[in-house]
C-alpha cells in the first residue's frame, strides 16, 4: 500500500510539475492553448487529396485529408504486404531449393535495412531512375512509368500524354508509389517469417496423416495445415499490420501528405505543438486499439 501511495504521489508530483512549467511557458510565449486553431484557415495546399480541399479550408479539414491519405496507403499496403509475405513465406518452405534460397535472401536483405533508407531509395529510383513522361517506360500497354509518377488505365479512361505529363486514367504520385512499395516490401519480409513459423509450428504428423488420406500437397496445405497455422499466425500478423500503419508516418520524410506530415506543417505554422502531437498520438492510439480489438474478436472466433 505504501509503495502504491508513493508511486501515485511521484507520478502526480511529476505531472503537476510539468503542467505548471508548461502553463508558465505558454503564457510567456503567448501561445493560446486549446483546439480553436482547428477552425482557422490552413493556408497551404496539399498535393493529393481523397476529397475536395483548398488552401482556404480549415486546419481540421487539412488534417482529415492527411488521415484519409494515411488510411489509403495503410490499407493498400496491408493487402499487398499480406499477399507478398504469404507467398514468400511459403516459397521458403517449398521443396524448390532455388526458390527457397531466393526467398530467404529477400527476407534477410529487407529486414536488415532501415525502412527510412528503403523509402529514400525507392523515391530516388522513381524520381531519378525513371525517364521523363515523354520517354515513359511502358511495360504493359496503357501503363506508363515516369519520374512524375506511375500511370495506369482505369474504367474511366486511359492515360495519354498531354503537354509535359499524362492525363486520364489512374495515377500514383512518386511519393505515394515510393511509400506504398517501401512499406509493402518491408512488411512482407516480416510477414513471410510469421507465415513460415506458423506453418512449421503445425506438427509433422498432421502432414503425414493428411498425405496418408491421399491429399495432394496443395490440398494438405489448404485444408489441414492452413487452418491450424492461422491460429498461430494471426496475433503476430496483427502487430505487423499495426507496425505498417505506424510506419506509414515516415511519409513525412519523402513528402507524402499523411496525417503526421500535415500535423507537422500545422505545428510549424501555428506553434500549437502540444495540440498537434496530441492529435497524432490520439489518432494512432485509436487505430491501434481498434485493430487490436478487431483481431482479438477474430482470434476468439478461430478458437
Amino acid at each position: 500500500m505504501a509503495v502504491q501511495a508513493l508511486a501515485a504521489a511521484l507520478v502526480i508530483a511529476a505531472a503537476a510539475y510539468l503542467l505548471f512549467n508548461t502553463l508558465a511557458n505558454l503564457e510567456a510565449r503567448r501561445i493560446a492553448s486549446g483546439f480553436a486553431f482547428l477552425w482557422h484557415e490552413a493556408g497551404f495546399e496539399i498535393g493529393e487529396s481523397a476529397f475536395a480541399y483548398g488552401a482556404a479550408d480549415s486546419y481540421f479539414r487539412a488534417l482529415l485529408v492527411g488521415l484519409a491519405n494515411t488510411f489509403k496507403v495503410a490499407v493498400l499496403g496491408i493487402v499487398a504486404a499480406t499477399v507478398l509475405g504469404t507467398a514468400i513465406g511459403l516459397f521458403r518452405l517449398s521443396g524448390n531449393r532455388l526458390l527457397a534460397g531466393l526467398s530467404s535472401c529477400y527476407v534477410e536483405l529487407l529486414r536488415n535495412v532501415p525502412l527510412l533508407v528503403q523509402l529514400f531509395f525507392w523515391y530516388a529510383l522513381i524520381t531519378e531512375g525513371l525517364p521523363a513522361p515523354r520517354e515513359a517506360l511502358s511495360p504493359l500497354p496503357g501503363v506508363f512509368l515516369t519520374n512524375r509518377g506511375l500511370f495506369f488505365p482505369t474504367f474511366g479512361g486511359v492515360p495519354e500524354l498531354q503537354g509535359f505529363n499524362f492525363a486520364g486514367g489512374g495515377a500514383l504520385s512518386p511519393e505515394f508509389a515510393a511509400l506504398l512499395i517501401g512499406l509493402s516490401l518491408y512488411t512482407a519480409a516480416f510477414i513471410a517469417e510469421i507465415v513460415r513459423a506458423g506453418v512449421l509450428a503445425v506438427r509433422r504428423d498432421q502432414w503425414h496423416a493428411a498425405q496418408a488420406l491421399g491429399l495432394e500437397r496443395r490440398d494438405v496445405l489448404r485444408y489441414v495445415v492452413a487452418p491450424q497455422a492461422m491460429r498461430i499466425i494471426v496475433p503476430p500478423l496483427t502487430s505487423q499490420y499495426l507496425n505498417l500503419t505506424k510506419n506509414s508516418s515516415l511519409a513525412v520524410a519523402i513528402g507524402y501528405p499523411d496525417l503526421v506530415s500535415i500535423a507537422n506543417t500545422t505545428i510549424n505554422q501555428t506553434g500549437q505543438a502540444i495540440e498537434g502531437v496530441t492529435i497524432i498520438m490520439a489518432v494512432y492510439l485509436t487505430i491501434s486499439l481498434a485493430i487490436s480489438a478487431l483481431m482479438n474478436r477474430y482470434n476468439a472466433r478461430l478458437r
Binding site: 507520478v11 532501415p114 505506424k246 507537422n264 505545428i267
Partner: protein, 329 residues
Amino acid sequence: MKKILNLFLFILICYWGWKFVGWALVRAVWQPDPQACRAASGACWGFIVEKHRLIAFGTYPYEEHWRPALSSVLLVALWILTAVVRRWWLIPAWILGLISIGVLMWGGVFGLPYVENERWGGLILTLLLTTFGLAFAFPLSILLALGRRSTLPLVRALCVAYIELIRGVPLISVLFMASVMLPLFLPAGVSVDKLLRAQIALILFAAAYLAEAVRGGLQAIPGHQYEAADALGLNYFQSTSWIILPQALRIAVPPLVNTCIGFFKDTSLVLIIGLFDLLSTIKVSLSDPAWTGFGVEAYLFAAAAYFIFCYSMSLYSRRLEVSAGRFGR
C-alpha cells in the same frame, strides 16, 4: 514442370544479375568527377568517394576527424567484446571506454580543441544514440516489466498504460514530442540541446519495447521458482534480483537482441527532427548542387552500411537462439 520453373527463374536471375553487375561495376565511375558520372550509363560511386568524409563524420571539424573515427572503432570494439566474452571486467571496460569516447568527442582537455555536440554527426552519432539509448532504456525496461507483473494494481496500471501508449504510437510522434514539447515542459531558463532531446525520446521509446521482451522472459519462469524463493524466506527484492531476473533475462536474450536490431534501425528517424546521423549525412551530401541526382547510389550505400551492422547482429542472435535451445532452460 518444376524443372521449367527453375530454368525460368535461373535465366531471370542471371539476366537481372548481369544487368545489375553491368550497372554497379562494369559501367560504374569511381573517380570523384560529376561530369564523368553524368556521361556514364553506370553507377556513380565517385559520389561516395568524394563525400566519404562528410558521410562518415558529418560537420565535425575536418582536421579532427580522427577523433570520431577512433571513437567509432572503440565503440564497435566494445560491442563485439560484450557479444563474445561475458566477464565482470566488461563493466569497468565500458565505463573507461565511454569516458574516453566523451573526452575524444568533446575534447577541451589534453590539448584537444573543444567540439560542441551540435557538430557531431555521421556514423558515431548513430552508434552513440544506439548505445546510450539501450544503456538507459534497459534498466528502465526491467522496472517496467516487473511493474507490469506486479500485484499492486496501481503500479501495474501505470506500467501497462506507459508501455501500451508508447507501443501504440509511431516513434516519429515521440520524437516530435521531445523536440517541440520538451522545451515547454522545462522551467524557464533550462534548455536541453537537440541531441539530448532526441536521446531522451529514443530512451523512452526503446524502454517500452524492451520491457515487453523482458516480460516474455519473466512469464517463462515456472511458478515453483517463485515458491521456492518464498520458501527460503527471501523478500520480493531478494527473490527478484537473485532468483527470478537472472533466469528471466537469460531467456529473454534472443528477443532482446532482436529489439536492439530494430532500435538500431529506428535511430535513423532522428533525421526527421534534424540530427546528422549516418542516413542524414548521406542525404545532406546529395544536396550539393554539383552532385544532385545520385540518390540511388547514395541510398544503396546507406543500405549496405546499415545491413552490415544489422545482419551481423542478427547472425549473433541466431547463434544465441541455437545455443539456448541446446542447453535447454
